[in-house]
Symmetry: D3
């Protein structure tokens, strides 16, 4: 990540995929400590929604990705990008999915699109642990 | 559409799929009369984004559908539902895609979800012109 | 509702509270026919979230109302208004809650605010079935 | 409005500019009956924000229009269109402003763009009462 | 905050409640230097809206909190959390209010929910200056 | 930017205008590497939309600015602020435009308004390279 560190002081910008994963895990612990039964049910539901069914997991992660892009949530975009990478989504597939998000959601999504592609680039340079799941 | 007319005075609620299509066409004529070159380019881009590529058309329409649901646009949801129907999306596939939209976008999407399922029901009762594409 | 019918052809505008309830019920039947297990769980969770707990039901309905106003969903606003009315929310309490929604969400919420007050007015003229719950 | 009435049962779609004005006025009366001091101050502030200053009224109405388009509020779009018409905004100026809204806000704004152009068309056919203000 | 500092380079993530307060104050000075009369009126209105009235301050802050969560503004969420803490909101009350925000706003609010609970945790470890409730 | 660095660890907060420009450029390179033909067309369209036409460039940048504020995108706000500064927008014009964004979009835009004014302040202290364009 070193080349991204310079001239790149923005929060999301300077956060590597690994840092995001660690932060997410740490925060999830705090959330679970506070979460009541209903909140825990929501989290379960959230996880279940992306499981394989009539639609393959890959399609579902792309759906989650594009929904996150048009709603402009960097953390959500990055989470689904990680899943997409693990499920073997190709550059072309990713580009077409994000393009739909861009057209539907407009230029206001561009800063998120930029950060999405940078994280994708970063993941492609990491020692490969995928694809394992489908 | 007669059974939907009673007790159903809301705009979107009382509008049949056929009425939507006619209205959309009529309004598109007005838009094209006013649209400058840039706007026309945007419309072209919009159409092209859903063409087959690395991702099949069906996946792209589902992406457009879920993006439209989380952004809560009835007209956009209905437009993509029509495309999904023509491309042979099954009830199960539709249900799973809309469920992702519901979980990502929350209960605020429920009124749109209701109208989406009603339009889907309505299309299933129409003389079948699909599937033709895929 | 007769005095609202003239000069009032907009969907939400012309729909009475009773019509809304009937439509909502009819559409819920269609949704439940289509909903898979996960969607049904979401609906249950949605209902449970407004049950009495550390916060009274009335406060929770006001939370749902203001969230619906800032997200600008007429159907959701009307649903929570009906609950608020049944739980004995006063005019003053309603006005203060909606004012917070207006200040947080801005003038873009005003059309929804208008329709909210009209529905409230309409409910106040209906034969009283509240307050029963607290 | 007769030619718009056929095949056009959607709420916003079937509502003429004059009907919108009447409905808006009627609802404003209801709102003012309920509004507390703070809400009334907000309404005053809203009105004042569009008064002439360092920026001309026309520019301010275009700002309100584009903000309303990207936030996808038909009533707000129509309100600012009426002001724009009265202030002598030309077809070309309108088209360029709406195009910026379309590019920033994406294809999800298209249904609102369609209805905006239809209302504009409708206003251009009405007996002219503008331009009077600048 | 020390344990949160490592592996936590995101903006909101790494910013303590005290840092937020200092930054907010510094920026408010800049804003007030630039703000015209109308903007200042808006800020006053904003402050007044959360004063005690028919609804207690605590309820109003919870309304502001949930509205901020569904609109996904970290700064606004944190501001209202601080108020809630000072007004003696309990863990259970907070959990139920945030849960309504989660259900209404969907999984897209989860990153904000995480940061909200972390800030709450942080405030609970600070030397206590509450409750003083009004 | 040194005085902003202390007590200011938030991403957007601590990022200077120059840092933003460098980051934006670096990320644009990554995007262009990944962007397909459709995405590139969108970027072209985005650029073209702000060119002079029936409306002057300055008005168009103000439209982009206010649209960005009500949609609450810091990067987009800052981008248009830079353009506004280069086109000679005055403090008064800026204040009136942002005020419209505040009133339309509500108090949820205030954190973005704060950062907008800080960046404006920062640009005013920089060696002047404007106005060059109109």
């Amino acid at each position: 990540m070193s080349e991204q560190k310079e001239g790149d002081h923005s929060a999301h910008a300077g956060r590597s995929v690994e840092e995001f994963k660690r932060e997410r895990e740490a925060l999830n612990e705090i959330v679970l400590k506070h979460a009541g039964l209903q909140m825990k049910r929501f989290f379960n539901l959230d996880t279940q929604s992306y499981g394989a069914g009539a639609l393959p997991k890959k399609t579902k992660e792309l759906l989650g990705l594009v929904a996150s892009l048009v709603l402009r949530c960097d953390d959500c975009v990055l989470y689904h990008l990680i899943q997409c990478r693990e499920l073997g989504v190709t550059d072309e597939e990713l580009g077409e999915a994000l393009n739909i998000g861009l057209v539907v959601g407009g230029s206001i999504t561009i800063p998120h699109l930029r950060r999405a592609f940078r994280s994708w680039d970063e993941m492609k340079k990491m020692p490969d642990k995928q694809p394992q799941d489908k």
